[in-house]
């Protein structure tokens, strides 16, 4: 086990900007996260949440600013398997002819040889990961035959098998059953204890209060960032969502 220095930053994003062919998607955004921290990423559709993720994984290039992952470049973070991305269910082709086992094995590809032939350690990592998300009965099930919650757990298992120290989760709670929601929240506590850093986007304000130490409110740029208890205020939320009152957003049950 590597020793974790809890004082060093895992993620450092400084004044980052992303634009797509001249259209600004994100500007002057900052974020600093340490090991063991869980941060919620909250904003409207099109506020730049996915863009933020894409910038951290290197899927899009930033036009300005600086990103450091464990003090190094995004490129070397990719090489070191540091970041795992868990897509939202809508972001993947559920009809792709591929089994749970094969998806989770993809978490190991980055550390395999060029033919991606699994070693014994890879097989073990995949087995363990699938067990942790409770899908051992579905090893060879095509992902098209899974429920939304099971599919979400499959991609979580991929991230676990990758042994990444940073997890980026796009809407981890959308479209999942109660059982999956409970399992994910248990995993979050385990991840936190293992010193992993988690950044998750969500529409659900209750989940932010429940899981997130920190919250990052964005609307093309950072509206507010800090401890959830301090920053997650009705005023800030209203600003983030373009003037819509939090009562409306929270719904009647809160």
């Amino acid at each position: 086990m590597e020793t974790i220095n809890y004082q060093n930053f895992r993620i450092e994003a400084e004044n980052i900007c992303v634009d797509y062919n001249g259209k600004v998607a994100l500007y002057d955004a900052n974020l600093r996260l340490k090991p063991g921290q869980i941060c919620g990423l909250v904003g409207m559709n099109g506020a730049g949440k996915t863009t933020f993720f894409n910038a951290l994984t290197g899927f899009v290039n930033i036009s300005k600013g600086k990103i450091r992952i464990n003090g190094e470049s995004v490129r070397s973070a990719q090489k070191d398997q540091t970041i795992a991305y868990v897509p939202q269910n809508e972001g993947i082709d559920s009809q792709f002819p591929i089994s749970v086992w094969d998806v989770v094995m993809m978490g190991r590809y980055g550390s395999m040889n060029i033919f991606r032939s699994p070693r014994e350690s890879d097989v073990q990592a995949v087995k363990d990961a699938i067990e942790r998300v409770d899908l051992t009965d579905h090893l060879s099930t095509p992902i098209g035959n899974l429920s939304g919650g099971q599919r979400k757990r499959t991609f979580l298992a991929r991230a676990i098998a990758q042994r990444a120290s940073i997890l980026l989760l796009d809407e981890p709670f959308s479209g999942v059953d109660i059982r999956t929601e409970k399992l994910i929240s248990e995993l979050f506590i385990q991840f936190k204890n293992e010193g992993k850093t988690i950044l998750l986007s969500t529409h659900d304000m209750i989940h932010v209060r429940e899981f997130c130490d920190l919250v990052l409110l964005i609307n093309k740029t950072v509206v507010a960032y800090g401890e959830t208890s301090e920053v997650f205020t009705p005023e800030n939320i209203t600003t983030t969502f373009g003037g819509i009152s939090p009562d409306f957003l929270f719904g009647p049950e809160s």
Binding site: N21, N54, T57, G58, F59, R75, Q78, K79, D80, Q81, I83, A84, Y85, P87, G91, I92, D93, F96, P97, I98, S99, D102, M106, G107, Y109, G110, S111, I114, F115, R116, P142, G144, N145, R158, Q162
Partner: protein, 290 residues
């Protein structure tokens, strides 16, 4: 049909084999079918059918120019195939025109250029064999080229089989774990251009896109496993080629068209009777009898 009445199945199969050109056609078409079928799984899953159509049509001027200059036609075809894709990407990025429009616009432009060039360069280019293929009249140098290109594509696809599957499935994850997505994108495009080049000998430029998408689509209806999909795709492509060539021999039909029609019929069969995804779901029908 009268021809057939005194034929046994045995002579239906063996008689054509006594002709050298038929043996060559059957072998070469099977090889080409296997290559296109292999690639087909990736193209159908990636949603690149239109891209396949574009590349295969765009190679036309390349073939004509190469013939005129006495170069291997595969070289010209390859340059124009990849060039068309680069141009599509460039126009898409620099204008507000939607992607499918750009694709349609670019490949028809290239194709028209090819047609015009053929009419201007009065050499021994046979327009008909470029447009519709001529597996029965394939020359020795073409055989060598086809074998070389086919092996190259099969080797490339075999080495990067899993990476390409990941690229089609989840490019974002590929990028996140440090896999070179840019390389895989152009690898797939290169294979597509090369497969179009060998495919056009069998069925011609106009129909080669069928070789690149129909076997994959058929296999997609029949399995939920990627590896089986590749195997089924290759097999159905080879079988279609053999059926097409035999049928065209006995009934004196256009060979390229016959091969593609055979593929289409196999697809229709899968569409109607595939165990899980067919309209009539064979499994359920059989279950009813038990």
């Amino acid at each position: 049909m009268e021809l057939c009445s005194f034929l046994t199945l045995d002579s239906f199969i063996t008689d054509p084999l006594t002709h050298g050109f038929m043996r060559k056609a059957l072998l070469m078409s099977s090889l080409v079918a296997a290559v296109c079928g292999f690639l087909s799984s990736y193209l159908t899953l990636k949603g690149w059918a239109l891209m396949g159509d574009a590349v295969s049509h765009s190679v036309m001027p390349g073939v004509v120019v190469a013939y005129a200059l006495g170069l291997p036609f595969s070289l010209g075809a390859f340059i124009f195939g990849v060039g068309s894709v680069a141009l599509i990407g460039f126009i898409k990025q620099k204008s507000r025109v939607k992607e499918d429009t750009v694709i349609g616009l670019v490949f028809t432009g290239f194709f028209a250029l090819g047609v015009v060039l053929v009419s201007k360069i009065k050499s021994n280019i046979d327009l008909h064999s470029i447009l519709f293929g001529s597996p029965l009249g394939i020359s020795l140098s073409d055989v060598k080229q086809t074998i070389f290109i086919s092996l190259l594509v099969v080797i490339l696809l075999s080495i990067f089989r899993k990476d390409l599957m990941l690229y089609c499935f989840d490019p974002r994850h590929a990028k996140t774990v440090g896999i070179n997505v840019f390389f895989l994108h152009y690898l797939l495009l290169t294979c597509l251009s090369l497969a179009a080049v060998v495919g056009l000998q069998s069925v011609g430029i106009i129909l080669v896109v069928a070789m690149l998408i129909t076997p994959g689509a058929t296999a997609y209806l029949l399995t939920d496993k990627f590896d089986s999909m590749t195997v089924i795709s290759v097999l159905s492509a080879i079988i279609s080629s053999l059926i097409g060539i035999y049928v065209s021999f006995w009934f004196d039909l256009e060979t390229g068209g016959s091969i593609v029609l055979a593929q289409t019929f196999i697809f229709l069969f899968a569409f109607l009777f595939a165990p899980r995804y067919g309209i009539f779901k064979l499994k359920k029908l059989f279950a009813g009898y038990k």
